[in-house]
Protein backbone atom coordinates (compact mmCIF):
# COMPACT_ATOMS: atom_id res chain seq x y z
CA UNK A 1 0.00 0.00 0.00
CA UNK A 2 1.39 3.37 -1.05
CA UNK A 3 0.47 6.82 0.10
CA UNK A 4 -1.92 9.07 -1.78
CA UNK A 5 -2.46 12.76 -1.14
CA UNK A 6 -5.24 14.99 -2.42
CA UNK A 7 -5.39 18.67 -1.57
CA UNK A 8 -8.48 20.84 -2.05
CA UNK A 9 -9.51 24.27 -0.90
CA UNK A 10 -12.47 24.82 1.40
CA UNK A 11 -12.78 28.55 1.95
CA UNK A 12 -9.59 29.81 3.54
CA UNK A 13 -8.65 26.25 4.52
CA UNK A 14 -6.63 23.73 2.58
CA UNK A 15 -7.85 20.20 3.19
CA UNK A 16 -5.32 17.43 2.59
CA UNK A 17 -6.93 14.01 2.25
CA UNK A 18 -4.40 11.27 2.98
CA UNK A 19 -4.89 7.59 2.18
CA UNK A 20 -2.67 4.55 2.57
CA UNK A 21 0.25 4.04 4.90
CA UNK A 22 2.40 6.75 6.48
CA UNK A 23 5.74 5.35 7.59
CA UNK A 24 9.44 6.12 7.33
CA UNK A 25 9.34 5.42 3.59
CA UNK A 26 6.25 7.41 2.63
CA UNK A 27 6.29 10.22 5.23
CA UNK A 28 8.72 12.41 3.20
CA UNK A 29 6.01 12.80 0.53
CA UNK A 30 3.60 14.15 3.11
CA UNK A 31 6.32 16.47 4.44
CA UNK A 32 6.98 17.81 0.92
CA UNK A 33 3.27 18.42 0.38
CA UNK A 34 2.97 20.39 3.61
CA UNK A 35 6.11 22.41 2.89
CA UNK A 36 4.78 23.24 -0.60
CA UNK A 37 1.42 24.39 0.73
CA UNK A 38 3.02 26.63 3.34
CA UNK A 39 5.37 28.05 0.69
CA UNK A 40 2.28 28.90 -1.40
CA UNK A 41 0.85 30.86 1.50
CA UNK A 42 -1.66 28.26 2.65
CA UNK A 43 -1.41 28.41 6.43
CA UNK A 44 -4.82 27.07 7.50
CA UNK A 45 -4.52 23.31 7.05
CA UNK A 46 -6.83 20.40 7.80
CA UNK A 47 -5.34 16.94 7.37
CA UNK A 48 -7.93 14.21 6.91
CA UNK A 49 -6.45 10.81 7.84
CA UNK A 50 -9.73 8.87 7.81
CA UNK A 51 -8.46 6.71 4.92
CA UNK A 52 -5.03 6.16 6.42
CA UNK A 53 -4.45 2.50 7.21
CA UNK A 54 -1.20 2.90 9.09
CA UNK A 55 0.49 5.82 10.84
CA UNK A 56 3.74 5.59 12.78
CA UNK A 57 5.90 8.00 14.75
CA UNK A 58 7.68 9.20 11.61
CA UNK A 59 4.31 10.35 10.30
CA UNK A 60 3.56 12.03 13.60
CA UNK A 61 6.87 13.86 13.35
CA UNK A 62 5.88 15.17 9.93
CA UNK A 63 2.55 16.40 11.28
CA UNK A 64 4.29 18.15 14.18
CA UNK A 65 6.73 19.73 11.73
CA UNK A 66 3.80 20.97 9.66
CA UNK A 67 2.14 22.41 12.74
CA UNK A 68 5.30 24.33 13.64
CA UNK A 69 5.52 25.73 10.12
CA UNK A 70 1.95 27.02 9.98
CA UNK A 71 2.08 28.38 13.51
CA UNK A 72 5.09 30.48 12.54
CA UNK A 73 2.65 32.17 10.12
CA UNK A 74 -0.15 32.37 12.70
CA UNK A 75 -1.83 29.47 10.94
CA UNK A 76 -3.38 26.21 12.12
CA UNK A 77 -3.15 22.51 11.40
CA UNK A 78 -5.99 20.30 12.53
CA UNK A 79 -6.47 16.56 12.14
CA UNK A 80 -9.62 14.70 11.08
CA UNK A 81 -9.54 11.23 12.57
CA UNK A 82 -12.01 8.85 14.17
CA UNK A 83 -9.98 5.63 13.94
CA UNK A 84 -9.12 4.27 17.37
CA UNK A 85 -5.89 2.63 16.22
CA UNK A 86 -4.57 5.95 14.93
CA UNK A 87 -5.87 7.95 17.87
CA UNK A 88 -4.04 5.54 20.17
CA UNK A 89 -0.69 6.70 18.73
CA UNK A 90 -1.65 10.34 19.23
CA UNK A 91 -2.55 9.55 22.84
CA UNK A 92 0.65 7.59 23.56
CA UNK A 93 2.78 10.50 22.39
CA UNK A 94 0.69 13.17 24.12
CA UNK A 95 -0.22 14.77 20.79
CA UNK A 96 -3.95 14.82 21.50
CA UNK A 97 -3.12 17.92 23.54
CA UNK A 98 -1.15 19.49 20.71
CA UNK A 99 -3.43 19.02 17.69
CA UNK A 100 -7.05 19.85 17.27
CA UNK A 101 -8.54 16.44 16.40
CA UNK A 102 -12.02 16.38 14.89
CA UNK A 103 -14.51 13.84 13.56
CA UNK A 104 -15.16 15.68 10.29
CA UNK A 105 -13.57 18.31 8.06
CA UNK A 106 -16.55 20.59 8.63
CA UNK A 107 -16.10 20.33 12.40
CA UNK A 108 -12.40 21.21 12.05
CA UNK A 109 -13.14 24.20 9.82
CA UNK A 110 -15.99 25.51 11.95
CA UNK A 111 -13.85 25.35 15.11
CA UNK A 112 -11.98 28.47 13.94
Amino acid sequence: MDLSLNARSQGEFEVIEVAGEIDVYTAPRLREALVDLVAKGRHQLVIDVERVEFLDSTGLGVLVGGLKRVRSHNGSLDIVCTQDRLLKIFRITGLTKVFGIFDTVDAAVSSH
Partner: protein, 139 residues
Protein backbone atom coordinates in the same frame (compact mmCIF):
# COMPACT_ATOMS: atom_id res chain seq x y z
CA UNK B 1 20.44 -0.83 29.44
CA UNK B 2 20.28 -4.61 29.49
CA UNK B 3 21.59 -7.34 27.29
CA UNK B 4 19.23 -10.09 26.32
CA UNK B 5 20.45 -13.66 26.69
CA UNK B 6 19.79 -15.06 23.23
CA UNK B 7 20.92 -18.52 24.28
CA UNK B 8 17.77 -18.88 26.37
CA UNK B 9 15.56 -18.29 23.33
CA UNK B 10 16.79 -21.17 21.21
CA UNK B 11 16.11 -21.31 17.51
CA UNK B 12 13.81 -18.61 16.10
CA UNK B 13 10.42 -19.67 14.71
CA UNK B 14 10.84 -17.20 11.89
CA UNK B 15 13.77 -15.08 10.80
CA UNK B 16 13.59 -12.36 8.17
CA UNK B 17 16.46 -10.35 6.74
CA UNK B 18 15.90 -7.44 4.39
CA UNK B 19 18.14 -4.64 3.15
CA UNK B 20 18.13 -1.79 5.68
CA UNK B 21 15.84 0.47 3.68
CA UNK B 22 12.50 1.94 4.70
CA UNK B 23 10.81 0.49 1.64
CA UNK B 24 10.90 -2.95 3.30
CA UNK B 25 9.24 -1.98 6.59
CA UNK B 26 5.78 -2.70 5.23
CA UNK B 27 6.89 -6.26 4.46
CA UNK B 28 8.16 -6.71 8.02
CA UNK B 29 4.91 -5.31 9.43
CA UNK B 30 2.86 -7.67 7.33
CA UNK B 31 4.97 -10.68 8.33
CA UNK B 32 4.70 -9.78 12.02
CA UNK B 33 0.94 -9.39 11.79
CA UNK B 34 0.60 -12.72 9.99
CA UNK B 35 2.64 -14.46 12.65
CA UNK B 36 0.66 -12.85 15.47
CA UNK B 37 -2.60 -13.90 13.83
CA UNK B 38 -1.33 -17.47 13.51
CA UNK B 39 -0.62 -17.41 17.25
CA UNK B 40 -4.20 -16.34 17.96
CA UNK B 41 -3.31 -12.86 19.15
CA UNK B 42 -6.31 -10.62 19.65
CA UNK B 43 -6.91 -8.06 16.91
CA UNK B 44 -5.66 -5.29 19.20
CA UNK B 45 -2.47 -7.22 19.96
CA UNK B 46 -1.88 -7.90 16.26
CA UNK B 47 -2.09 -4.16 15.62
CA UNK B 48 0.22 -3.41 18.56
CA UNK B 49 2.81 -5.87 17.29
CA UNK B 50 2.56 -4.48 13.75
CA UNK B 51 3.21 -0.99 15.08
CA UNK B 52 6.02 -2.13 17.41
CA UNK B 53 7.82 -3.91 14.55
CA UNK B 54 7.58 -0.77 12.44
CA UNK B 55 8.92 1.49 15.19
CA UNK B 56 11.76 -0.89 16.03
CA UNK B 57 12.71 -1.11 12.37
CA UNK B 58 12.58 2.66 11.95
CA UNK B 59 14.82 3.14 14.99
CA UNK B 60 17.39 0.69 13.65
CA UNK B 61 17.31 2.22 10.17
CA UNK B 62 18.43 5.55 11.63
CA UNK B 63 21.77 3.96 12.48
CA UNK B 64 22.24 1.28 9.85
CA UNK B 65 25.60 1.06 8.13
CA UNK B 66 26.15 1.01 4.37
CA UNK B 67 24.69 -2.06 2.65
CA UNK B 68 23.47 -3.33 6.02
CA UNK B 69 20.77 -5.96 6.45
CA UNK B 70 17.97 -5.57 8.96
CA UNK B 71 17.22 -8.88 10.66
CA UNK B 72 14.08 -9.72 12.61
CA UNK B 73 13.91 -13.00 14.55
CA UNK B 74 10.70 -14.22 16.14
CA UNK B 75 10.91 -16.59 19.12
CA UNK B 76 8.19 -18.33 21.09
CA UNK B 77 9.14 -18.29 24.75
CA UNK B 78 6.36 -19.95 26.74
CA UNK B 79 3.50 -17.47 26.96
CA UNK B 80 5.53 -14.75 25.28
CA UNK B 81 6.45 -13.80 21.76
CA UNK B 82 9.97 -12.40 21.71
CA UNK B 83 11.19 -10.40 18.76
CA UNK B 84 14.86 -9.59 18.28
CA UNK B 85 15.68 -6.99 15.63
CA UNK B 86 19.20 -6.01 14.81
CA UNK B 87 21.31 -4.09 12.33
CA UNK B 88 25.05 -3.69 11.88
CA UNK B 89 26.16 -0.13 12.53
CA UNK B 90 29.64 1.33 12.93
CA UNK B 91 28.83 3.42 16.02
CA UNK B 92 25.78 2.06 17.86
CA UNK B 93 24.05 4.34 20.31
CA UNK B 94 20.87 3.90 22.34
CA UNK B 95 17.61 5.35 20.95
CA UNK B 96 16.59 8.76 22.26
CA UNK B 97 14.15 8.12 25.12
CA UNK B 98 12.28 11.37 24.42
CA UNK B 99 11.67 10.48 20.76
CA UNK B 100 8.20 9.55 19.51
CA UNK B 101 9.43 6.18 18.21
CA UNK B 102 10.76 5.10 21.60
CA UNK B 103 7.62 6.36 23.36
CA UNK B 104 5.40 4.31 21.05
CA UNK B 105 7.61 1.24 21.14
CA UNK B 106 7.81 1.08 24.93
CA UNK B 107 4.08 1.72 25.24
CA UNK B 108 3.15 -1.17 22.95
CA UNK B 109 5.63 -3.88 23.97
CA UNK B 110 5.63 -5.31 27.48
CA UNK B 111 9.41 -4.91 27.57
CA UNK B 112 12.10 -3.50 25.29
CA UNK B 113 15.79 -4.22 25.76
CA UNK B 114 18.56 -2.42 23.92
CA UNK B 115 21.78 -4.19 23.00
CA UNK B 116 24.88 -2.37 21.82
CA UNK B 117 27.69 -4.44 20.38
CA UNK B 118 30.91 -2.52 19.87
CA UNK B 119 33.28 -5.34 19.01
CA UNK B 120 35.59 -4.41 16.15
CA UNK B 121 34.19 -5.60 12.85
CA UNK B 122 30.91 -6.75 14.38
CA UNK B 123 29.37 -3.66 15.93
CA UNK B 124 25.62 -3.34 15.88
CA UNK B 125 22.44 -2.27 17.57
CA UNK B 126 19.68 -4.66 18.62
CA UNK B 127 16.26 -4.31 20.19
CA UNK B 128 14.51 -7.19 21.90
CA UNK B 129 10.76 -6.79 22.30
CA UNK B 130 8.56 -9.03 24.39
CA UNK B 131 4.85 -9.43 23.79
CA UNK B 132 2.52 -11.50 25.95
CA UNK B 133 0.49 -14.10 24.03
CA UNK B 134 -3.07 -13.76 25.24
CA UNK B 135 -5.48 -16.13 23.57
CA UNK B 136 -8.37 -14.46 21.83
CA UNK B 137 -11.40 -15.41 23.91
CA UNK B 138 -13.59 -15.29 20.83
CA UNK B 139 -11.63 -18.03 19.07
Amino acid sequence: MTQHDDRALGRPEVELSVPADGVHLSLLRTAAAAMAARLDFTLDDVEDLRMAVDEAGALLLQQSGDDAMLTFSFFLDGPRLVLRCEVPTPAPRPPRPEGFAWMVLTALASSVEVGLTTAAGASGLSLVLTHPREQDERS
